[in-house]
């Protein structure tokens, strides 16, 4: 499987996952953090999933207990985390070390 093209948007998504590797994210949460529209976010998630960097799975919860429907969540695979880290470092280097940080998303949405 060929690695996905590392655009700035892809880098933003990867950065979110890398910031907290153990945390699973769901689509709307990522939309809220990045400010991406659904039509932009889901192709990226699909690309990363196909490349094996992200793993998508159905949440294992009881909807009646959680009082919300089950979500589909994404998490970095171990190999994905490793490659993503390298790729981001390379991109960061190419952009002069500061460009990517400028687009690092904040926790409450938008780009910091």
């Amino acid at each position: 499987m060929s690695p996905p093209q590392l655009t700035l948007a892809v880098a933003v998504i990867l950065r979110i996952f890398l910031d907290d590797i153990g945390t699973s994210r769901y689509g709307y949460e990522l939309m809220r953090i990045t400010g991406f529209r659904s039509g932009k976010l889901y192709p990226i998630l699909a690309r990363l999933e196909t490349a094996g960097w992200l793993q998508r799975e159905r949440e294992d919860i009881d909807p009646s207990v959680a009082r919300r429907p089950i979500r589909y969540i994404y998490r970095l695979t171990p190999s994905g985390a490793q490659v993503a880290r390298l790729e981001l470092a390379r991109l960061d280097q190419q952009l002069g070390g500061s460009a990517l940080r400028r687009f690092r998303p904040s926790a409450n949405g938008g780009n910091a």
Binding site: Y26, G27, Y28, R37, S38, G39, K40, Y42, P43, I44, A46, R47, E49, T50, R68, P69, I70, R71, Y72
Partner: protein, 385 residues
């Protein structure tokens, strides 16, 4: 209080109640609009990914609407829902490509001919398809059936004509799977399929209504004219002097036109059949779901057109009303039975060759019935003149 007031108040109350119902219905439908858009977006994905993504996106939609705390504001909720769903609709094709980057879409003939430019594809489809396989194979076979009926009796009656045109409809519906396959071969895309279905439906429903209208204006025009009127442009292209209008004298179909038409039907049908066999042999996948919906829409339009045309004819044909009325019922029942059978056959994904054979059998039976049950020679009714 006078009776008029009672009526006025009752009517007013009924209108208000009805208005409430309509507004409630609209509100419920609008509320579900984002969901419909998502379901539509999912259709743009490869089939194997649809179920999972549909679940995910619909659940996310719930999240979008709930987590924003906008559940109590219908317009805001609708706005956010539509924004989310529209964006997905626009991005869904890309999601499909990203999920399945190596999957090759089957190339239809139109894609090979017109390339991947949608405008050219649509224009090419609109111009080419109605002149293509559908009209010339299924509908013109009805013309041939009618001509056989005409030739079989020196004094053909309205029965044979009506049975002839009914048989065309039945054959068309029964043959819907084979039409689907033909469309898949003409252009393996949704636009082409829908265009074909629309052209067939509009052709049939319009010509039926026109036929009855013409008959009401001029009783000398025989029933069954719609079939001729429909294919007149095609025959006119083949033979300039061909006359297919109305009365016995005017209804002289040039032998050359019939021969050429028949040759075209047989030729195109053979080519289409060979293509189907080849595509099976080569394992080329054929899309089906969109066209099934299109067939459903076609059937609905045909039914509405036929029934509307017949009712119009019944109301506006006092001279032949009794005879015509008797036939209306029979015809409507036959068409409904045929449409139901067509839908069932299409949904059951029966082999197109089997349904093709069925269509031919029905055409044959219809032709025989037309000959057997036509009015015996003798004084002709005014309707049949």
């Amino acid at each position: 209080m006078s009776g008029h007031w009672v009526i006025a108040i009752t009517v007013f109350a009924a209108v208000v109640a009805f208005g409430d119902l309509v507004s409630e219905e609209l509100r419920a439908r609008l509320d579900r609009l984002p969901e419909y858009l998502i379901r539509f977006a999912v259709l743009r994905l490869p089939p194997e990914f649809r179920q999972g993504r549909r679940d995910e996106w619909l659940l996310e939609l719930w999240g979008v609407l709930q987590e924003r705390k906008i559940a109590a504001f219908p317009l805001t909720r609708l706005f956010h829902g539509i924004c989310y769903a529209t964006s997905l609709l626009l991005g869904a094709r890309q999601v499909g490509k990203d999920l399945s980057p190596t999957a090759q879409r089957p190339l239809g003939a139109a894609r090979r001919i017109f390339g991947s430019r949608p405008v050219r594809t649509v224009i090419g489809t609109i111009i080419g398809v109605p002149l293509g396989l559908i009209w010339m194979s299924v509908l013109m076979s009805g013309l041939v059936g009618n001509e056989i009926l005409y030739a079989a009796r020196s004094n053909p009656s309205e029965y044979s004509n009506i049975i002839g045109s009914t048989v065309v409809l039945i054959a068309l519906v029964i043959a819907s799977p084979i039409i689907h396959e033909l469309c898949g071969l003409i252009a393996n895309n949704r636009v082409a399929s829908c265009t074909v279905a629309a052209s067939v439906a509009s052709g049939i429903s319009t010509s039926m209504a026109v036929m009855v209208l013409l008959h009401s204006l001029n009783p000398d025009i025989e029933l069954g004219l719609g079939v001729y009127g429909r294919v007149f442009p095609l025959l006119g292209l083949l033979v300039g002097t061909c006359i297919v209008w109305g009365s016995m004298e005017g209804r002289r179909l040039n032998a050359a036109a019939r021969a050429t038409g028949l040759a075209l039907i047989l030729g195109l049908s053979s080519v289409a059949y060979i293509n189907i066999v080849l595509s099976d042999a080569l394992g080329v996948p054929r899309t089906s779901q969109p066209f099934r919906w299109a067939v459903g829409a076609t059937v609905a339009v045909i039914s509405i057109g036929v029934i509307g045309g017949r009712i119009l004819g019944y109301l506006s044909t006092p001279m032949g009303a009794r005879l015509f009325g008797g036939i209306v019922g029979l015809h409507v029942v036959a068409v409904f039975a045929a449409t139901t059978a067509g839908v069932l056959i299409t949904r059951a994904s029966i082999d197109p060759r089997i349904s093709g054979i069925l269509a031919v059998l029905i055409l044959g039976c219809g032709t025989w019935a037309g000959i057997a049950y036509s009015t015996p020679p003798g004084p002709r009714s005014r309707l049949a003149r």
